[in-house]
């Protein structure tokens, strides 16, 4: 990793402030993504991965706000930019696709128009040009008969097709970073594989970096070169995705890995239950002191209950936050 990364998050803290209480939903989150790199954030619901993504594009809204830390895009602090400058960044340089392709498209506007709007908005094209570019964009995401499909309304398309349209919209302006927030959760497994493959290929062609957010460790490790595991608002482990299955260092990551079903394990080990992580994610308002994972951790000792673990650097840019890391 050299020079200025594409995006760099440093010690990010996001506060949830609903009048009476004031708590940190995300704390001490740091990571960097280089040009063309793929980085994944994994964690359970409510661990803060989606609001971290929203903070990256400057769209946190009350009661959430960035309380501390820095988010730098190509060395420029995003928080310091004017609203107009942030808006110009969104969609053009940083794009995002969502979990629900059903609702993320405007139901009363033909999909071609929604793609074309990106060229008009960010590239200053005329509608005529933009409409032609929209046909090309649809062809790029392998939608058959794009000249006819541009006139379709979202409800006339299948879920997979809609997600393709979303990808076409997101990649319309050749962004530097694509944030994919649970991009395939709402889709069938077969369609899921196609969409992931498509997204990965298109981004590789264009040199677009991907920040993928998911609860599915297997999926993220498959797509991304590096993976950050989030738990209760903190990154507990960050590794190359190859290492994460082979030698994960944090007990939580170990728990996630163990809870994945393995093909063929029944023949080798006999019939057994999938292992689960005992307990539930704590609510934001009552995160435990010390290591936030300690109430659910089998290896927890006294120090885990009192002191938050410091970052330990592992080889190859990996890091872990645990007092007992292997």
């Amino acid at each position: 990793m050299t020079a200025a990364p594409l995006i760099e998050v440093e010690d990010l803290r996001i506060d949830l402030d609903n009048g009476a209480s004031h708590v940190a939903a995300v704390e001490g989150v740091s990571f960097r993504i280089d040009r063309g790199e793929t980085f994944g954030l994994v964690g359970e619901s409510g661990c803060g991965k989606s609001i971290t993504a929203l903070a990256l594009i400057g769209l946190l809204r009350r009661p959430l706000s960035v309380a501390a830390g820095a988010i730098r895009f190509e060395g420029r602090e995003i928080q310091g930019l004017s609203a107009a400058a942030q808006r110009a960044l969104r969609g053009d340089r940083i794009a995002m696709i969502f979990q629900e392709p059903m609702t993320a498209l405007n139901p009363v506007s033909p999909v071609g128009r929604q793609i074309a709007e990106m060229f008009v908005l960010h590239k200053g094209k005329s509608w005529r040009e933009a409409n032609q570019l929209a046909v090309e964009a649809l062809a790029n995401v392998r939608v058959p008969a794009p000249e006819r499909r541009v006139k379709d309304y979202p409800h006339q398309l299948s879920g997979g097709m809609r997600q393709r349209v979303m990808i076409a919209i997101a990649l319309a302006c050749d962004p530097d970073l694509l944030i994919a927030d649970e991009p395939t959760t709402a889709l069938d497994v077969t369609v899921q594989a196609e969409i992931i493959e498509l997204m990965r290929n298109l981004c590789a062609e264009r040199g677009t970096a991907i920040l993928m957010i998911s609860h599915d460790l297997g999926l993220v490790a498959n797509v991304c070169r590096r993976v950050g595991v989030m738990y209760a608002g903190r990154i507990v482990e960050e590794r190359g995705s190859d290492d994460i299955f082979r030698a994960c260092a944090h007990p939580y990551t170990q728990g996630l890995v163990d809870s994945l079903p393995r093909l063929g394990s029944r023949a080798a080990l006999g019939r057994s239950r999938l292992r689960e992580i005992a307990g539930v994610v704590p609510a934001i308002a009552d995160f435990p002191s010390g290591c936030r994972f300690n109430p659910r951790c089998a290896q927890a000792t006294e120090i885990c209950r009192t002191t938050a673990p410091e970052t330990t650097w592992l080889g190859a840019g990996g890091l872990v936050r645990c007092h007992h890391h292997a």
Partner: protein, 273 residues
Amino acid sequence: MKLGTSAIIGGVLFALAIFVGLFAPWLAHTDPVMGANLMNAEEPPSWIWWFGTDAQGRDIYSRVVHGARISLTVGIVSQLVNSVIGVTLGLTAGYWGGWWDDVVNGLTNLMLAIPSLIFALAIMAVLGPGLTSLLIALGLTNWSFTCRIARASTLSLKSQGYVQAARVLGYGDLRIMITQLLPNMVGPIIVIGTLGMGGAVLAEASLSFLGLGIRPPYPSWGSMLSEARDQITTAPWLSVFPGLAIFLTVLGLNLLGDGLRDVLDPQSRSRRA
């Protein structure tokens, strides 16, 4: 697109009224104002005088035909003004919220608390009678329902995925309002607008009947009714035909509004495919 029976009947009635209004000079038999001839005063309806004549011997049919122009102009223009005001206020209030929402809400409640006809009367009293003041008075007094609907639609649409997505994709506020919010609320706005148009035709008739709208000798359906009220027992056709015109036009607009409600649901567009 499948239109219900009521929408078709309503549409035909409204289209007929528009047609009559547009081609009034060719459809009328005599000049509605200057065509007075005391030799023909108070003739009942016949093959020569289809709707009869009034005390000055003017042809009621010609006056009703010309009256369509005024009534429809007032109905359409004033409702357009209402829709523009209502949508602008409601959309911005719902979208931005905060103090602006409070102001608009207060204003809307104020407008709803004052009977709109009384308010229009007050404006007319200040501006004086005439077509322009009628348009202003009715255009400024009936936007509260549109505003409420626009605001409510905005509030529910604002949390929709595609509105959020638009923000993420770098759309500005104005672009979100015009491309994402407005097209998704156009159905209910048109329905309210159509019903409101019927209301405006009635309001014009009421104001003219009270002598504050269109003044004699120019024919509007309301002013014709006003002039006819003394002769309602001796020459009922003077009241019946303008009354019928108002009735059919308003009925048509109401049926059309109801029918459009079913058609303008975006989901029903799939039937076209």
